[in-house]
Protein backbone atom coordinates (compact mmCIF):
# COMPACT_ATOMS: atom_id res chain seq x y z
CA UNK A 1 0.00 0.00 0.00
CA UNK A 2 1.44 3.37 -0.99
CA UNK A 3 0.49 6.50 0.86
CA UNK A 4 0.48 10.16 -0.11
CA UNK A 5 1.44 12.19 2.97
CA UNK A 6 0.48 15.86 2.92
CA UNK A 7 2.08 18.35 5.33
CA UNK A 8 0.54 21.83 5.56
CA UNK A 9 2.44 23.25 8.56
CA UNK A 10 5.78 25.03 8.53
CA UNK A 11 8.55 22.77 9.87
CA UNK A 12 9.85 25.78 11.81
CA UNK A 13 6.64 26.13 13.77
CA UNK A 14 5.21 22.62 14.21
CA UNK A 15 6.65 19.12 14.29
CA UNK A 16 4.23 17.75 11.65
CA UNK A 17 6.97 17.24 9.05
CA UNK A 18 9.26 15.49 11.52
CA UNK A 19 6.53 13.12 12.65
CA UNK A 20 5.61 12.45 9.03
CA UNK A 21 9.23 11.71 8.11
CA UNK A 22 9.56 9.37 11.08
CA UNK A 23 6.89 7.04 9.70
CA UNK A 24 6.98 7.53 5.94
CA UNK A 25 7.99 4.52 3.87
CA UNK A 26 10.04 4.25 0.72
CA UNK A 27 7.11 3.64 -1.61
CA UNK A 28 5.31 6.78 -0.46
CA UNK A 29 5.29 10.43 -1.43
CA UNK A 30 5.35 13.49 0.82
CA UNK A 31 3.58 16.53 -0.65
CA UNK A 32 4.26 19.88 1.01
CA UNK A 33 1.39 22.36 0.78
CA UNK A 34 0.27 25.69 2.33
CA UNK A 35 2.76 26.81 5.04
CA UNK A 36 4.40 23.40 4.68
CA UNK A 37 6.14 24.55 1.46
CA UNK A 38 8.76 26.26 3.62
CA UNK A 39 10.18 22.80 4.25
CA UNK A 40 10.96 22.28 0.56
CA UNK A 41 13.60 24.98 0.32
CA UNK A 42 17.38 24.62 0.18
CA UNK A 43 19.71 25.76 2.95
CA UNK A 44 17.23 25.73 5.80
CA UNK A 45 17.39 23.97 9.16
CA UNK A 46 14.85 21.49 7.75
CA UNK A 47 16.62 20.71 4.46
CA UNK A 48 18.76 17.86 5.79
CA UNK A 49 15.78 15.87 7.06
CA UNK A 50 14.18 15.99 3.60
CA UNK A 51 17.41 14.93 1.92
CA UNK A 52 17.83 12.07 4.43
CA UNK A 53 14.34 10.75 3.70
CA UNK A 54 14.95 11.11 -0.02
CA UNK A 55 18.00 8.92 0.41
CA UNK A 56 15.70 6.21 1.76
CA UNK A 57 13.58 6.33 -1.39
CA UNK A 58 10.79 8.62 -0.23
CA UNK A 59 9.56 10.88 -3.02
CA UNK A 60 8.84 14.55 -2.38
CA UNK A 61 6.63 17.11 -4.09
CA UNK A 62 5.68 20.70 -3.31
CA UNK A 63 2.66 22.68 -4.49
CA UNK A 64 3.83 25.43 -6.86
CA UNK A 65 0.83 27.68 -6.22
CA UNK A 66 1.72 27.83 -2.52
CA UNK A 67 5.37 28.61 -3.29
CA UNK A 68 4.27 31.44 -5.62
CA UNK A 69 1.93 32.91 -3.02
CA UNK A 70 4.79 33.16 -0.54
CA UNK A 71 7.30 34.63 -3.02
CA UNK A 72 9.42 31.47 -2.86
CA UNK A 73 10.92 30.70 -6.27
CA UNK A 74 10.80 27.14 -7.58
CA UNK A 75 14.55 27.23 -8.25
CA UNK A 76 15.17 27.39 -4.49
CA UNK A 77 13.52 24.03 -3.94
CA UNK A 78 15.76 21.14 -2.84
CA UNK A 79 17.00 19.07 -5.81
CA UNK A 80 14.80 16.05 -6.32
CA UNK A 81 11.64 17.66 -4.91
CA UNK A 82 9.18 18.02 -7.78
CA UNK A 83 7.04 21.13 -8.08
CA UNK A 84 3.44 20.20 -8.92
CA UNK A 85 0.28 22.22 -9.56
CA UNK A 86 -3.26 21.46 -8.30
CA UNK A 87 -3.80 18.97 -11.13
CA UNK A 88 -0.58 17.26 -10.06
CA UNK A 89 -1.91 17.17 -6.47
CA UNK A 90 -5.01 15.34 -7.71
CA UNK A 91 -2.86 12.97 -9.77
CA UNK A 92 -0.73 12.13 -6.72
CA UNK A 93 -3.84 11.43 -4.67
CA UNK A 94 -5.11 9.13 -7.43
CA UNK A 95 -1.74 7.39 -7.81
CA UNK A 96 -1.51 6.38 -4.16
CA UNK A 97 -3.74 3.97 -2.26
CA UNK A 98 -4.40 6.37 0.58
CA UNK A 99 -3.85 9.95 1.75
CA UNK A 100 -2.54 10.82 5.20
CA UNK A 101 -2.92 14.53 6.04
CA UNK A 102 -0.61 15.66 8.82
CA UNK A 103 -2.68 18.64 9.96
Amino acid sequence: MSTLHTVNKSPFERNSLNTCLSVVRGDSTVLLIEDGVAGALQNTTASASISDAMGKGVKFAVLGEDLDARGLAADRVIDGVSVVDYAGFVQLAADHDNVQSWL
Binding site: D35, L41, A69, R76
Partner: protein
Protein backbone atom coordinates in the same frame (compact mmCIF):
# COMPACT_ATOMS: atom_id res chain seq x y z
CA UNK B 1 3.96 62.61 31.00
CA UNK B 2 3.64 61.99 27.31
CA UNK B 3 0.47 60.44 25.94
CA UNK B 4 2.49 58.57 23.36
CA UNK B 5 3.11 54.93 24.01
CA UNK B 6 5.46 52.56 22.30
CA UNK B 7 3.55 49.76 20.59
CA UNK B 8 5.57 46.74 19.55
CA UNK B 9 3.95 44.26 17.16
CA UNK B 10 5.64 40.86 17.06
CA UNK B 11 4.86 38.87 13.92
CA UNK B 12 5.77 35.18 13.98
CA UNK B 13 3.50 33.50 11.41
CA UNK B 14 3.85 32.89 7.68
CA UNK B 15 1.23 34.61 5.49
CA UNK B 16 -1.78 32.82 3.91
CA UNK B 17 -1.62 29.54 5.87
CA UNK B 18 -3.25 31.28 8.82
CA UNK B 19 -4.94 34.67 9.12
CA UNK B 20 -2.51 36.08 11.73
CA UNK B 21 -0.33 38.00 9.30
CA UNK B 22 -3.23 39.79 7.63
CA UNK B 23 -4.90 40.53 10.97
CA UNK B 24 -1.68 42.01 12.32
CA UNK B 25 -1.26 44.26 9.30
CA UNK B 26 -4.84 45.50 9.66
CA UNK B 27 -4.41 46.23 13.37
CA UNK B 28 -1.15 48.07 12.67
CA UNK B 29 -2.83 50.25 10.03
CA UNK B 30 -5.78 51.00 12.28
CA UNK B 31 -3.46 51.71 15.20
CA UNK B 32 -1.36 54.03 13.06
CA UNK B 33 -4.25 56.51 13.04
CA UNK B 34 -3.72 57.11 16.78
CA UNK B 35 -0.25 58.59 16.31
CA UNK B 36 1.58 56.33 18.69
CA UNK B 37 5.15 55.13 18.32
CA UNK B 38 4.98 51.84 16.43
CA UNK B 39 7.63 49.18 15.94
CA UNK B 40 7.10 46.02 13.92
CA UNK B 41 9.17 42.93 14.50
CA UNK B 42 9.31 39.97 12.12
CA UNK B 43 10.69 36.84 13.74
CA UNK B 44 10.43 33.07 13.15
CA UNK B 45 8.04 32.34 10.23
CA UNK B 46 6.96 36.00 10.34
CA UNK B 47 9.90 36.79 8.03
CA UNK B 48 7.99 35.07 5.19
CA UNK B 49 5.44 37.90 5.31
CA UNK B 50 7.97 40.26 3.72
CA UNK B 51 9.25 38.12 0.83
CA UNK B 52 9.42 39.76 -2.60
CA UNK B 53 7.35 38.59 -5.53
CA UNK B 54 4.37 37.06 -3.76
CA UNK B 55 1.75 35.94 -6.27
CA UNK B 56 -1.48 34.54 -4.85
CA UNK B 57 -3.33 34.07 -8.17
CA UNK B 58 -2.99 30.31 -7.85
CA UNK B 59 -4.43 30.01 -4.34
CA UNK B 60 -7.35 32.39 -4.74
CA UNK B 61 -6.46 34.59 -1.77
CA UNK B 62 -5.87 38.32 -1.55
CA UNK B 63 -2.20 39.25 -1.95
CA UNK B 64 -1.67 41.71 0.89
CA UNK B 65 2.12 41.87 0.59
CA UNK B 66 1.96 45.16 -1.30
CA UNK B 67 0.23 46.79 1.66
CA UNK B 68 3.44 46.66 3.69
CA UNK B 69 4.94 49.27 1.39
CA UNK B 70 2.23 51.71 2.53
CA UNK B 71 3.38 51.54 6.16
CA UNK B 72 5.90 54.34 5.62
CA UNK B 73 3.06 56.72 4.70
CA UNK B 74 1.46 55.97 8.06
CA UNK B 75 4.67 56.85 9.93
CA UNK B 76 5.30 53.20 10.63
CA UNK B 77 8.99 53.18 9.79
CA UNK B 78 10.64 51.08 12.47
CA UNK B 79 10.58 47.60 11.02
CA UNK B 80 12.87 45.00 12.53
CA UNK B 81 13.78 41.65 11.00
CA UNK B 82 15.38 38.91 13.07
CA UNK B 83 18.62 37.79 11.44
CA UNK B 84 18.61 34.27 12.89
CA UNK B 85 15.10 33.61 11.57
CA UNK B 86 16.20 34.52 8.04
CA UNK B 87 19.29 32.35 8.32
CA UNK B 88 17.38 29.31 9.57
CA UNK B 89 15.13 29.58 6.50
CA UNK B 90 17.88 30.04 3.90
CA UNK B 91 16.82 33.66 3.35
CA UNK B 92 18.63 37.01 3.34
CA UNK B 93 17.45 40.63 3.35
CA UNK B 94 17.76 40.51 -0.47
CA UNK B 95 14.79 38.12 -0.52
CA UNK B 96 12.60 40.68 1.26
CA UNK B 97 10.85 43.68 -0.20
CA UNK B 98 12.50 47.01 0.59
CA UNK B 99 10.26 49.11 2.84
CA UNK B 100 10.96 52.83 2.94
CA UNK B 101 9.60 56.10 4.32
CA UNK B 102 10.13 59.77 3.57
CA UNK B 103 11.92 61.56 6.43
CA UNK B 104 10.13 64.87 7.04
CA UNK B 105 13.07 66.06 9.16
CA UNK B 106 15.47 65.53 6.28
CA UNK B 107 13.77 67.22 3.30
CA UNK B 108 11.59 64.12 2.75
CA UNK B 109 14.55 61.99 1.81
CA UNK B 110 13.57 58.39 1.15
CA UNK B 111 15.08 56.09 3.75
CA UNK B 112 14.89 52.43 4.60
CA UNK B 113 12.47 51.44 7.34
CA UNK B 114 14.08 48.05 7.82
CA UNK B 115 16.71 46.96 10.25
CA UNK B 116 18.26 43.56 10.80
CA UNK B 117 18.41 42.68 14.50
CA UNK B 118 19.79 39.92 16.69
CA UNK B 119 18.07 38.30 19.67
CA UNK B 120 19.69 40.66 22.14
CA UNK B 121 18.27 43.63 20.27
CA UNK B 122 14.90 41.88 20.14
CA UNK B 123 15.06 41.41 23.91
CA UNK B 124 15.69 45.13 24.25
CA UNK B 125 12.73 46.04 22.01
CA UNK B 126 10.46 43.85 24.13
CA UNK B 127 11.89 45.22 27.35
CA UNK B 128 11.28 48.83 26.31
CA UNK B 129 7.76 48.36 24.91
CA UNK B 130 4.75 49.90 26.60
CA UNK B 131 2.35 47.65 24.73
CA UNK B 132 3.19 44.26 23.22
CA UNK B 133 0.91 42.83 20.53
CA UNK B 134 1.61 39.33 19.26
CA UNK B 135 0.45 37.74 16.04
Amino acid sequence: MSDTKKFVYINRKAPYGTVYALESLEVVLIGAAFEQEVQLVFVDDGVYQLTKGQNTDGIGMKNFSKTYSALGDYDVNQIYVDEQSLKDRGLTMDDLQELTYEDEDDDWAEKSSMKLINREQLAELIDEADVLLNF
